[in-house]
Symmetry: C2
Subunit: 243 residues, 2 copies
Amino acid sequence: MLTLQTPLASKLSAFVALSAPDLEMLARFHRRRRTFQAGHELIHEGEKNQSAFVLAEGWACSYKLLPDGERQIVDFQIPGDFLGLRSILFRTSDHSVEAVTRIEASEVLASDILDSFAHAPRLATAVLWAASRDEAMVVEHLVNLGRRPAEIRTAHFLLELGARLRLVGVGEAAGFECPLTQYHLADVLGLSAVHVNRVLRQLREDGLVTFQKGRVDFDDIPRLTRLAGFDPEYLDQPRPFLP
Amino acid sequence: MLTLQTPLASKLSAFVALSAPDLEMLARFHRRRRTFQAGHELIHEGEKNQSAFVLAEGWACSYKLLPDGERQIVDFQIPGDFLGLRSILFRTSDHSVEAVTRIEASEVLASDILDSFAHAPRLATAVLWAASRDEAMVVEHLVNLGRRPAEIRTAHFLLELGARLRLVGVGEAAGFECPLTQYHLADVLGLSAVHVNRVLRQLREDGLVTFQKGRVDFDDIPRLTRLAGFDPEYLDQPRPFLP
């Protein structure tokens, strides 16, 4: 018996009202469920014939390594997100994906994607929407690195994480459990760990947000949102696009 | 009579061997062809119910404006690229698109996308591939801003542009006509125009690449590729994924 109510189904439902056959087709993405320990690299940059996964539980991160050994984290993945969707379309993966915590993820083959597109075109548009949303997040991280000062960049990133988590039913408006270290934040924000530490202290002392002991608490959401210029429109839909 | 051989069809053919019905469905994306002058803003960040376009001729750029008036260019679009595909899926556009040169572009409605997905699922996977490829380019620009020094960043960006253009039959391996100004380069590379000028002079004096008088000439492709760590794998396919 396959579960139809998965985080991926919740997320895609923000875009498309999924019919019973759509949900059954989507449930097939969850057939090959596996567990990976924290630190396990699921997808390897530069390798061919990689699988993609749908994350069901835990946190992962996608990144690229530079020739000098430095790492740029592109994004973190939370339940309901695809891991390495590009890898199965590109033959050679252009990035790596690592488990941040112990995770549960289901392997998705290219044939699963093709079958679902052939039988459920509404699901195809929903997957295109999810991929576009991933791209929108990368664009925000690009703007973070290119044009936003360290404090605003950090605030924007934490608000985005909170909004994403709520959409799949994790955390509350006031905050969320967060397994990321200051090294993770440094590698996604293009800052040194020392700089991240200083920025987090400043944000806490300003009464805006507290990141401590594995939890992010938003202390003043309106002021933090204004500081970050954060508009969650790219993450959510006020109502499904396809009713 | 619709033309079946468009730059978009050439690009997607790298991923999927398109059948005659696929090509006819794709040709419908080109029905509403329009001309826009250089500098015209086709898609406006923050506005609802925007159209998407397929670029047939000329260059465009997608960008986000920051509250302080600074601009981060996300990417440039060349013939065969979608403009604002995310805008029609997100209701509210998360970015703006402007014509860099005089352009010809065809308006694509959400219903065109949905119809094509319902009737040509192979085309749906090809559009997902094209969107994934756009995302891969944004990821490269993210890594550029986050971890690559100015000279390597510029070299990587120019090699990427050259490879993209060749895939749609523009330019040669040795170089290409380029309408971008140093201000465009500054806004995509997160550098000042003065810094871009200095970097371009250095790359030219090192015998690597010359960007002058609206042309980019690769003077030493192997050495430039090594310097940039450029691997065009994310832009092209050695053979179609779906034969």
